[in-house]
Every structure is written in structure tokens, then in C-alpha cells.
Amino acid sequence: MQDDDLDRVLSREEDIVPSSGFAGNVMDAVRSQASAPPPIPFPWGRSIPGLAAALGLLLVVAVRFGSGSEAPAGNAALLVKALEAATTFGVGWIALALFASFVSVALSMRLAGGRR
């Protein structure tokens, strides 16, 4: 088949006419969207003190772990310290909970996306 043939066939596409209620349906959706209250913005103002406190705490922990060692800390010693801290704070459980949440959300989205 030559390009000319392809052009003729694909250019002569039949058009469909939108159903009579199409514009009305779109405008109904637009009006309902326009009358809906605007989405609640994230309260950045209120969250700033909390975020600043968390950041400060993180810095304090980092400084303590970084400078509080009596012996010269090599890579192995740092790793041991990190593991000890992880055990103390229950990082394993937190990681497991995060993983379970991720799987749950991914599965829900997949199921919801597949159904239409």
C-alpha cells in the first residue's frame, strides 16, 4: 500500500456527532464544580513550628551520634551505632508498617483502577 492510499483511507474518517445532551452534561458538571467549596489548603502556617521542631530534633540526634564517640569511629563502628539506634527506636517495625501500608495502597489503587 502506498502512502497516498493510506492517506486517502485515514483522511476519510467518518465523524460522529456528539449526543444532544453532551454540552448540557458538561455544563452541569462545570456548574457543580464551580459551586463546590474550594479544596482546603494544606495548613503550612500551623505546620511550620512542628516541622521546625522535627528538624531541630534530627539535627540534635545527628550531632550527638556524630560527636559523642569516645573511640575513633570507623565505618564499622558507625554501622553498629546505627543498628543499635535502629533497634532502640523500633525501625524494623516502622519499616514493616510502611511496607504494609504501601502494599495496601498499591493494591487498592490497582483494584480501583481496573474497575470502571
Binding site: 500500500m1 485515514l10 454540552a23 452534561n25 483502577g113
Partner: protein, 200 residues
């Protein structure tokens, strides 16, 4: 309003000033002005969606969503391009995403081509069969070629408009057009020797 026989490039030239006035009215709070935009562009947007999915109900659903998104994003149209160009790029992006999420029903490319003996029995039927085979084969193409071909023919074979709708460089559009056509020719070998179709 008569939507039959619309021509996208012609309409976009004629309606550009009306689009701009209506957009300004909507942004000033006159929601009803958006209805004029919807009535002006419902034909092209529904037809573009139809070419992507070949399902009338779904095409109207996708076009409605495109209009809603356009309404929400109206203040982001910067007027550096025609409103229609912006609208088509937005709709194309939405249709592509939708079709990737839930693909249109298509026959596999190998089965789409040459579904029956193409030897001429009747001129009209032959034309219909040929058109049907080509469209089926086009819908079964990998998405990057299919999208370019759909947009190219939708925009009356205007490479520039196709590139703007897909947000791709013109060179990429030309390369994909060429490759897409090549795949179609390879998949429709029996039509190669068939006599040319009659002019409409």
C-alpha cells in the same frame, strides 16, 4: 449547531477571537460563557476521543473530562498559542493517559491485518474492507506510532499541529509517522497490489 463536516484548521482560524472573548468572560466569573466554548469544540473533541478509543460512550466521557480539565485550568492558558492548540494538547494528553490506563479494545496487530481475502468482489465493499483493515491495523500499532497517526490525520495531515498537540518535536513526529506507515504497509501486504480506491 451543526457539527457535521467541521474542519479543525478552518474552524480554529475563524473562532480564535471568539474563544479568547469567551475565556475572558469565564475568568471574569461568567460561567455560562464556557457553554459557548463547549458547543464550539464538542465535535472536534468528541471525534478526537472517538479516534483514540472507537467507543462512542467512552469518547463522550473522555471529552467531558477534557472540558472539565480545561475549565479548571483556563487561567493557565497563556495566549502564546491559539486556545484551540492549548485545548487540543490538553485533551490529547488526557486521552493518551486514559488509553494507557484502560486500553481500547483492539485486535492484535498480526490479526488486525488481512482479516479476509482482499480480492475485489464489489468496488464499494472493497473500499470498506480496505478502510476497515487499515483502521484496525492502525489501532493495533504500538501507542507511540498510533498516537502520531491519529493526530496527523485528525489535523488534516499538518505535522506542526500534530507536534504541538503531542508536545513533541516535528522531527520526532515525522520519524514516527514514517515508521508507523511502514509497519502498516508491512502488515497489509495484500492491499499493495489492489487498484486505487475511487475518489469520493
Amino acid at each position: 449547531m451543526d457539527d457535521a463536516g467541521w474542519s479543525y484548521p478552518a474552524r480554529s482560524r475563524v473562532k480564535a477571537s471568539e474563544d479568547e472573548a469567551d475565556v475572558e468572560a469565564v475568568l471574569a466569573g461568567e460561567i455560562e460563557a464556557f457553554e459557548r466554548i463547549v458547543r464550539r469544540w464538542q465535535g472536534p473533541l468528541v471525534n478526537l476521543a472517538w479516534r483514540f478509543c472507537r467507543d462512542r460512550a467512552r469518547a463522550e466521557e473522555m471529552a467531558q473530562e477534557a472540558f472539565l480539565r480545561a475549565y479548571r485550568a483556563l487561567n493557565r492558558w497563556r495566549k502564546d498559542a491559539a486556545f484551540s492548540t492549548w485545548l487540543f494538547a490538553l485533551a490529547t494528553n488526557l486521552y493518551r493517559t486514559e488509553l494507557r490506563r484502560i486500553p481500547a479494545w483492539t485486535v492484535p496487530l498480526g490479526e488486525a491485518a488481512e482479516a479476509r481475502d482482499p480480492r475485489p468482489i464489489d468496488g464499494g465493499l472493497e473500499d470498506q474492507d480496505r478502510a476497515s483493515a487499515v483502521r484496525s491495523a492502525m489501532l493495533a500499532l504500538p501507542s507511540k506510532y498510533r498516537e502520531v497517526l491519529i493526530l496527523f490525520y485528525f489535523h488534516d495531515m499538518d505535522v506542526g499541529a500534530t507536534a504541538r498537540s503531542l508536545n513533541l518535536p516535528e522531527g520526532t513526529v515525522k520519524a514516527r509517522l514514517s515508521r508507523g506507515r511502514e509497519i502498516l504497509r508491512r502488515k497489509l501486504p495484500h492491499w499493495l497490489g489492489a487498484p486505487h480506491m475511487k475518489e469520493a
